[in-house]
C-alpha cells in the first residue's frame, strides 16, 4: 500500500504526459517545427490560412519570468537571510505568518490587483499608454514567488548548524561576514532550490499573467510592452476550440512544450545542485 503511494507520483506524471501527448500528437506529423517554435505569427482562428507560431509566446513567457526573477531573487533571498539571521524572535514569527499569507493569495486575486492597482500605477509612474504589460505581470509573479523563496530559503539557512555560526563569530567575523562566507556557501543547495522553485512557479503561473500582461501576441521591445505567455494562451483559447481540431491539438502541443520547459528547469536544477555538491 505504502509502495503504491510512493510510485503513484510516477504514474501520475506519466499519465498526464501521456494524455496531453495523445491529444496533441496527431498534429505532430503536419507540424513545421521551425515555424512552430520561432515564428511570431499566432493566427489560429484564421479561416483561410491559420498560423501556429509560438515564438512570441515563448519569448513572452521567458521575458516575464526573467524579469520577475530579477525582482524576486534579491528580495526573496534577502528576506530569507533577514528572517533567519538578523531579526528578533517576535519579528520573525510575524514575518513568517505574513509571508505565508502572501503565498496563500489565489492567483486570480493577484490578477485583479494587477488590473486595478498596478495598471494605473504603472501608467502614472512611467507615462505609458497601457499598464497591463510585461512589467505588471513580472511584478505580480515576483510577489507570488517571493514567499516560496523566503520559506524554502529560510529552511535552508536554518539547516546550517549553529556551531558554524559560533565558530565564525569566535574567529572574529561579523554577522555579515558570516552570511557571505559561511551561510551562503553552506546553504547554497537549498537556496538554489528555493530560486528554482520560484522559477517553476513563475513559468507555470497562468491566471495572474493572463489578466495582467496585456495578452497581445508580439515580441516585446521593452518592459512596457504587453506580452502573452504560453500558459495564458492555453487558458484563454482552449475553451473556444472544438475538440480534435488543429487549433485544439496545437494548444496541447504548447502544453507539451511547457512540460518540456519545466522539465528542463528541474533537470538543470538537479544537475546544478549535484555539481555544487560534488565540489
Amino acid at each position: 500500500m505504502i509502495r503504491l503511494c510512493g510510485i503513484s507520483a510516477i504514474i501520475f506524471v506519466f499519465g498526464i504526459f501521456f494524455f496531453v501527448f495523445r491529444e496533441g500528437a496527431p498534429f505532430l506529423a503536419k507540424l513545421d517545427w521551425s515555424q512552430f517554435l520561432f515564428s511570431p505569427d499566432w493566427i489560429p482562428t484564421s479561416q483561410t490560412q491559420p498560423k501556429y507560431g509560438v515564438g512570441a509566446l515563448i519569448v513572452g513567457t521567458l521575458s516575464v519570468t526573467v524579469l520577475a526573477m530579477a525582482i524576486a531573487v534579491p528580495f526573496g533571498l534577502g528576506a530569507a537571510v533577514f528572517v533567519s539571521e538578523f531579526c528578533g524572535k517576535a519579528t520573525k514569527e510575524t514575518l513568517k505568518i505574513v509571508i505565508e499569507l502572501l503565498a496563500a493569495i489565489p492567483s486570480v486575486v493577484w490578477g485583479f490587483i494587477g488590473l486595478c492597482v498596478l495598471n494605473p500605477l504603472i501608467i502614472q509612474t512611467f507615462h505609458t499608454p497601457i499598464g497591463v504589460n510585461m512589467l505588471n505581470g513580472a511584478v505580480l509573479l515576483a510577489l507570488m514567488s517571493v514567499p516560496i523563496m523566503v520559506s524554502i530559503g529560510e529552511d535552508a539557512l536554518k539547516a546550517v548548524p549553529d556551531s558554524y555560526r559560533e565558530a565564525g563569530l569566535a574567529l572574529g567575523a561579523t554577522r555579515w561576514q558570516i552570511v557571505y562566507r559561511i551561510l551562503l556557501p553552506a546553504a547554497k543547495n537549498g537556496l538554489l532550490a528555493a530560486v528554482l522553485l520560484g522559477v517553476g512557479r513563475a513559468i507555470g503561473e497562468t491566471m495572474a499573467v493572463l489578466m495582467a500582461t496585456g495578452h497581445s501576441v508580439r515580441i516585446p521591445h521593452s518592459v512596457f510592452d504587453p506580452v502573452r505567455t504560453l500558459t495564458a494562451t492555453i487558458a484563454a483559447e482552449l475553451g473556444e476550440t472544438s475538440k480534435g481540431s488543429e487549433h485544439y491539438q496545437v494548444l496541447f502541443l504548447i502544453g507539451i512544450l511547457l512540460f518540456s520547459i519545466t522539465f528542463a528547469v528541474n533537470l538543470i536544477a538537479d544537475l546544478a545542485v549535484r555539481g555544487v555538491r560534488k565540489k
Binding site: A167, L171, G172, Q177, R181
Partner: protein, 254 residues
C-alpha cells in the same frame, strides 16, 4: 607570580545560565607567555570560564555575567570592537567544527574577515598556520578539498591552524585532545610548547597529566569554585594546599 604584567585578569567572575549560577566568583591572573591550565571534572564550569574570556559567551542568550575580565588591562565587557577581541583571544573548541569550506578557505577565513585579501599573503599565512598545527604535510596536496572531509584528528588540527591564522595573543584550547589519538596529541603538545614564545596559552583539559606536562601553573576548578591555583610544582607535588586537589590530580576522586 612576581611578574607585574598581566595578560588576563579575572576578578570575581560570576556566571549564571537562567537562574543557575555555574561560576561562583572566580578570580585569577594570567601572565604573558605562560601556559595556564584549568582542570576539573565535567560540569565544573571550565568551558563557560573560557567563553567569558573572548565573549563567545554572548551567544548564550540566557547567560548572565558579573565581575570583570580584563585582557591587556581592558574590560572585555566594555569593549567596542568585540571582533578584535575575538581575534586577539583565539579559541579551539573540544569537538572540531570544520567550516563547510575548503581546507585553504578554513584557514584563510579569519584573515579575510580581517581584511587581508592578497593571495600571496594568504598563501604564506595558510602554509605557516598549517605547519604550526602539524597538518601541512598531510594536506598540502589537497588544500582545495573540503575541510569537513578530513579525519577527526586532522580536523582538530585544522581548527588549531584556523585559530592561529589571526595571530592571537592568547590561545584558548578547550579539551583539544578529546577527539584525537595520543600520538597526535603529543605532536600538538609539542606545537604548543613552541608557540608559547609567541603567545599566552590557556589550556582547559580533562587530562590532569596533560596539564602536568604542559602548564606552568594550574587552576583546579570544582563546581564553579576555584579550589586551588598554583604553579605545577605545588599542584602536582603530592602535597598541594588543598586536599581535594591532591585527590583529584591523583585520581582518588572525581
Amino acid at each position: 607570580m612576581s611578574c607585574a604584567v598581566k595578560k588576563i585578569e579575572v576578578k570575581d567572575l560570576r556566571l549564571s545560565y537562567a537562574h543557575r549560577e555555574v561560576l561562583h566568583g572566580v578570580s585569577f591572573d594570567i601572565v604573558p607567555n605562560e601556559i595556564f591550565a584549568v582542570i576539573g571534572p565535567a560540569q565544573s564550569g571550565k568551558t563557560s570560564l573560557l567563553r567569558c574570556l573572548n565573549r563567545t559567551i554572548d551567544f548564550c542568550a540566557n547567560a548572565f555575567v558579573s565581575g570583570t575580565v580584563r585582557v591587556d588591562g581592558e574590560d572585555v565587557r566594555e569593549l567596542r570592537n568585540v571582533y578584535e577581541l575575538r581575534r586577539k583571544v583565539g579559541m579551539v573548541a573540544p569537538l572540531p567544527v570544520g567550516l563547510p569550506l575548503s581546507i585553504y578557505d578554513n584557514v584563510a577565513f579569519a584573515p579575510r574577515c580581517a581584511g587581508i585579501s592578497a593571495r600571496s599573503e594568504l598563501d604564506g599565512l595558510v602554509e605557516k598556520c598549517l605547519r604550526q598545527a602539524a597538518l601541512w604535510d598531510e594536506v598540502k596536496d589537497r588544500l582545495d578539498s573540503l575541510g569537513t572531509k578530513l579525519s577527526g584528528g586532522q580536523q582538530q588540527r585544522l581548527t588549531i591552524a584556523r585559530a592561529l591564522s589571526h595571530a592571537p595573543e592568547v590561545l584558548c584550547l578547550d579539551e583539544f585532545s578529546i577527539a584525537i589519538d595520543p600520538v597526535t596529541t603529543m605532536r600538538i603538545e609539542d606545537v604548543l610548547k613552541e608557540l608559547r614564545s609567541q603567545m599566552t596559552i590557556v589550556l582547559v583539559t580533562n587530562l590532569t597529566q596533560q596539564a602536568r606536562r604542559l602548564a606552568d601553573r594550574t587552576l583546579f576548578l570544582y563546581n564553579g569554585d576555584v579550589i586551588e591555583i598554583g604553579s605545577n610544582d605545588v599542584i602536582f607535588s603530592g602535597h598541594p594546599a588543598n586536599r581535594k586537589t591532591y585527590e583529584y590530580v591523583n585520581g582518588i576522586f572525581g
